[in-house]
């Protein structure tokens, strides 16, 4: 479409640049703060030009928050969440789109409902389940009297327990069990022509082979988009890792570690020095991997979300 609207162009560009500035100024301030010395940052007014202490601030933040371990933990968790999400979402959507089975629509709606229940809403029951994965079954057994029967018969008390606290599994699983990716995949699968499946059938390929060798390669851009979204989502998690990890030195995540860099009056350290420069340097380190993923995946990401090129 060719349009000649110079005034409108000017206005839209102005809006764009204002938006960019609004988004970018805080990032700039973080960067500037990370380059100042303790003294400089506590001297008003706020400096808008970078100083010369970036590397020592980064080093200080790295050691004080133990970011080596924490970043590794975050990376493991985020990759696992993203990968688990892709696996779960693609296979669920495959079942929902390509198979006719009783209860298909019920399954669809049950999955749909989880969209309305983000982790924060169901955090208490989720924690209870994570503390003992078998607790719902234990409850069922208790209520139906089966555990009483078991005790009468064997003399031993029936106590099922599988604890996920403080483990990577516990960090990852509750974040994987949502419907977002399933819907992205479902929309994609619905655009795949039915003849493709029939051609595969005629070629002798079973459902799993069709899934692996035809659907998966076709959905690479979807996969990249979903990976990016889920990686960032998991990377930015704060509340859930905070709840489930009790051994913070070894299992804590990078975002949790940031909290330790922020000087607070109510802290166990009794407030301490307001060294915002180190805190901001920590922010820079923690945000870097997420930025990197977005930068690398951006091309696929946009393609995966807007259109399917077939």
């Amino acid at each position: 479409m060719i349009e000649r609207t110079p005034v409108l162009n000017l206005v839209t560009h102005a809006v764009l640049f204002i938006g960019l500035a609004i988004a970018f100024v805080p990032m700039w301030l973080v960067f500037v703060a990370a380059t100042l010395s303790l003294q400089e940052i506590n001297t008003p007014p706020i400096s808008l030009l970078p100083g010369s202490h970036l590397w020592e601030n980064l080093a200080e933040a790295w050691t004080r928050a133990d970011l080596g371990v924490k970043l590794t933990n975050s990376l493991i968790m985020s990759v696992a969440v993203a990968a688990g999400k892709i696996a779960l979402a693609s296979i669920t959507a495959f079942a929902l789109v390509f198979f006719r089975f009783p209860g298909r629509m019920t399954a669809f709606w049950l999955i749909f409902i989880t969209l309305m229940l983000p982790l924060e809403v169901r955090i208490v029951p989720t924690y209870a389940v994570a503390a003992n994965v078998f607790s719902p079954y234990q409850t069922i057994l208790d209520v139906t009297g089966l555990s009483w029967l078991w005790q009468q018969l064997t003399g031993a008390e029936l106590a099922l327990e599988w604890n996920l606290l403080n483990s990577y599994t516990g960090l990852v699983l509750p974040l994987v069990a949502t419907a977002t990716g399933t819907f992205l995949y479902r929309q994609f699968f619905l655009t795949v022509p039915e003849e493709l499946m029939e051609a595969a059938k005629m070629d002798g390929a079973g459902p799993m082979r069709f899934f692996r060798e035809i659907l998966m390669p076709l959905s690479i851009t979807n996969m990249a988009a979903l990976f990016t979204i889920m990686f960032i989502y998991a990377w930015n998690q704060y509340l859930w890792p905070l709840l489930i990890t009790t051994d913070r030195t070894h299992r804590g995540t990078a975002v949790m570690a940031l909290r330790q860099l922020i000087p607070m009056s109510g802290d166990s350290t009794g407030g301490g020095v307001p060294d915002w420069n180190v805190a901001m340097a920590g922010c820079l380190i923690v945000v870097a991997p997420a930025l990197l993923v977005v930068a690398l995946m951006q091309r696929f990401f946009v393609r995966g979300l807007i259109a399917s090129d077939k």
Partner: protein
């Protein structure tokens, strides 16, 4: 190669029945075209042979084995789809060889067979391309290569030419027929295009509303349509059909025009449908069975000319050679040779045989 036996096959989606008890025997090596308007159940029938649709009732046997409960891959059929259904992420070579890969053939063996098939279809230089980089005709060939490579017992074609432009369609039609002459594989070809049916088929199966109307060679179908539907469906321009009644032995009348016919045993007063092919009338009033037409519009088709007009108030088309001299519009008289008159029962639509054609049918 294999014969196909279709015995009282029915298909229903819930209460909606789309194929009403079809019986058909296809001989080994035969090229059968199933022809019919859209929604007549022809594609459904093909997909039931392929195993892509479940058979509601009846039996389908390929090479003597009932295949009702076999998976598509176990039936030995290969199918060419209307939109080709090529795998977009695979190269031409991978597309053609996918069936062999699934069957577990080794890579060198696969490559060798893919190359042979690609060569026979003129695809050798395109083996590394993706389907998206091919033209319509080339995609069509890849789809055929994919079907050929498994050396199936039966080829199934589901309107494979309808996505091509007119010129390419003619060319691919010839290629498909040549391919069949060379391989001799039993083929079932579904189409709604009567020209494809007439040119490709050993035998044509005309379907309508989930029933088979007629099975026969292209010539039989054209010369002796078994029903009013077939008469109107086959032929371009279509047969002129109008209602009349029997007025005496060997005589029918419609719109005041009396025609003598060779049909025997006609009861006077019986309502009939009279059919006359546009190309079988003779311009000029010689002999008997003469009528006149008011031509208000004529169409030049290059080799022939179509005269559209009314005969005693009913629409009528006459086809004459384009070289016919004289005016193109106006009132013409023409003769209908008695052997050119087709009669159909007005109620059932079934053909009323002449003494001669009846004898042939009995033999």
């Amino acid at each position: 190669m294999a014969d196909i036996d279709i015995r009282s096959v029915r298909k229903a989606y819930g209460k909606n029945q789309v194929v009403h008890g079809v019986d058909l025997s296809i001989r080994s090596g035969e090229f059968v075209v199933v022809l019919g308007p859209s929604g007549c159940g022809k594609s459904t029938l093909l997909r039931m042979i392929a195993g892509l649709e479940a058979i509601t009732a009846g039996e389908i046997a390929i090479a003597g084995d009932v295949v009702n409960n076999l998976e598509p891959r176990e039936r030995g059929c290969a199918m060419v789809f209307q939109n080709y259904a090529l795998y977009p992420h695979m190269t031409v070579a991978e597309n053609i060889g996918y069936g062999l890969k699934v069957a577990g053939l080794s890579k060198p063996e696969r490559t060798a067979r893919v190359e042979t098939v690609a060569k026979s279809l003129g695809l050798s230089e395109y083996l590394d391309r993706k389907p998206g980089q091919l033209s319509g005709g080339q995609r069509q060939r890849v789809a055929m290569g994919r079907a050929m490579i498994r050396e199936p017992k039966v080829f199934l074609f589901d309107e494979p030419l309808s996505n091509l432009d007119a010129k390419l369609r003619v060319q691919m039609r010839i290629e498909i027929r040549k391919l069949h002459n060379r391989l001799g594989t039993t083929s079932v070809f579904v189409t709604h295009d009567q020209v494809e049916a007439m040119t490709l088929a050993d035998r044509v199966v005309v379907m309508n509303g989930g029933h088979i109307e007629q099975v026969g060679t292209p010539e039989e179908i054209y010369r002796n349509p078994a029903s009013r539907f077939v008469a109107g469906f086959i032929g371009s321009p279509p047969m002129n059909l109008f209602d009349g009644r029997v007025t005496g032995p060997g005589e029918v009348q419609a719109h005041g025009i009396v025609l003598s016919v060779p049909h025997a045993g006609l009861k006077p007063g019986r309502p009939v449908t009279i059919g006359i092919r546009p190309e079988e009338v003779v311009l000029g009033a010689a002999g008997s069975n003469v009528a006149s037409i008011d031509v208000d519009f004529s169409e030049e088709l290059g080799s022939v000319r179509l005269l559209h007009g009314q005969v005693a108030g009913a629409d009528f088309v006459i086809q004459v050679p384009a070289t016919t001299a004289g005016p193109k519009i106006g009132r013409f008289s023409f003769e209908v040779p008695a052997r050119a008159v087709h009669l159909f029962d007005a109620e059932t639509g079934n053909r009323i045989g002449t003494a001669a054609s009846g004898a042939r049918a009995a033999a």
